[in-house]
Symmetry: C2
Subunit: 136 residues, 2 copies
Amino acid sequence: MLEDIDKNYKDSSLKQKYNIIKGNRYIMEEAIVPISKALKLPMDDVVDIFVKIYDSASLYESHAYVEQAKMGCLGRRVDIDLGLCWIADFFGLISKNDADLIRKKVVEDTIIRKKPYNESLEEGRALAVKILKGEE
Amino acid sequence: MLEDIDKNYKDSSLKQKYNIIKGNRYIMEEAIVPISKALKLPMDDVVDIFVKIYDSASLYESHAYVEQAKMGCLGRRVDIDLGLCWIADFFGLISKNDADLIRKKVVEDTIIRKKPYNESLEEGRALAVKILKGEE
């Protein structure tokens, strides 16, 4: 009997957690989808992992984390795509400060100003080249 | 007259620096080529930038930096390609320690054990999925 109550409670808590995630388009698009793509895992498996690890309260609060992750992980992609990792961090051909400005510009153009990533990236690339050549 | 000497000295120093870079296959392949690709700049332009910024002594010593950059920047690519940025750094679905192990394994398999990057990445991906699902 107690076991049944416990099981019912767990089932309804699990169901609630699934509903929180699946009902939140932002979490689905900006967290579940990119993780599913990177790990080549079905989206349902990624949802399962979130449900297993997070409680409902944390899931309700996850909007802020998703926003941070979106900005932060895009910034790291810019580092790779523009070679900032090489030219700033390891070879010091441009300053870390200049690299921060370029990265921030591409991330903000993409996420806040809604430019396509490749377009933002091309502008970041042009800026990096100008700085490298001492024209900026 | 003094101007001529100065100019000759500069020319020969420049030539020496070009020769150091162009004669070093490792620097060409592991620094000039990836930067040239990332910035979509002709390789000669990238060589020009190195020659402008570095003196000969630093160029002779750059082998160590190139090695570090190669490992470091590949690690950052792994973070993006496997979504470690998301699952470890922002969502805490796996520990930073586990993410470090996965990243290190992929980088070492690729650079030290000379496995193709995509193959190393697939193994890293399988490991990440196992850890996420609590099977490891």
